[in-house]
């Protein structure tokens, strides 16, 4: 049984501490027993290259309202039973989860598209900034991560005509 509970239909969180993806998804499944399909995405700090740490900052007065607005848009646009959108802030190390999005729906295409939509918006339309610590020294050097062009074009796919 899941040790944590998620809110239904929508559970949006900005998290200061690490979380268990397995437990979160088990709790989301438990919160939506009537859904035929659940899609999820989890983004993780990659341990590639020389990355030692990832720091996520945000602007608190905007972060949660902005994420809630993204989730509300997904709930309105697709026929969903539920939506979960969790995003870490603070200092993360390689292997830790940055973001978890899940959608529960009767039909799988709605679940897929809604999860994809929310991820695209969290990437380039939510109030987070991230930087990586790289290098071989004791401290290493910090580098801000700019959004990629692909992040903007991914999000532009959802603009209605």
């Amino acid at each position: 049984m899941a040790r944590i509970a998620v809110n239904a239909p929508v559970d949006v969180r900005v998290l200061e501490n690490g979380f268990s993806v397995g437990e979160a998804l088990a709790a989301f499944n438990a919160a939506h027993p009537d859904s035929g399909g659940i899609t999820s995405f989890v983004g993780t700090v990659r341990p590639d290259g020389e990355v030692k740490a990832l720091e996520l900052t945000h602007y608190e007065p905007l972060t949660l309202p902005g994420m809630e607005e993204i989730a509300a848009q997904a709930m309105e646009r697709w026929s969903l039973d539920g939506m979960l959108a969790w995003h870490r802030v603070g200092m993360l190390t390689p292997g830790q989860s940055i973001v978890l999005v899940a959608a529960a729906a009767r039909h799988r295409r709605a679940a897929f598209e809604a999860t994809d939509f929310v991820m695209d918006h969290l990437k380039s339309a939510a109030w987070f900034w991230k930087r990586e610590q790289r290098g071989t020294g004791a401290d290493g050097a910090w580098h801000w991560i700019s959004p990629r062009d692909a992040d903007y074009s991914d999000r532009a796919r959802w603009e209605k005509e």
């Binding site: 996520l56 973001v99 380039s124 987070f128 930087r131 700019s146």
Partner: protein, 80 residues
């Protein structure tokens, strides 16, 4: 009689500070003239937003911050 201005993400590095206090009231020309040249250059970019009192301004040149307001300078985001 002051306005707190926050420099988010990489703007804090450009400014050399994550927050500064400016005299109130603070408008767009006043903001541009008091931040560092590097940050002023960034503010002129379309992808840099400004929030005042917890709301993103649809048109940042209309900034009118009063005593006690918090102004946040928001560079392009990168979440996920």
């Amino acid at each position: 009689m002051s306005v707190k201005v926050l420099f988010l993400g990489p703007l804090a590095d450009l400014e050399g500070a994550s927050e500064r206090e400016f005299d109130a009231p603070l408008d767009w020309p006043g903001l541009l003239s008091q931040v560092s040249d590097n940050v002023a250059g960034q503010l002129l970019e379309a992808r840099v937003n400004i929030a005042c009192g917890g709301k993103v301004l649809p048109e940042k040149t209309t900034l009118q911050a009063r005593d006690g307001d918090e102004v946040a300078l928001l560079p392009p985001v990168s979440g996920g």
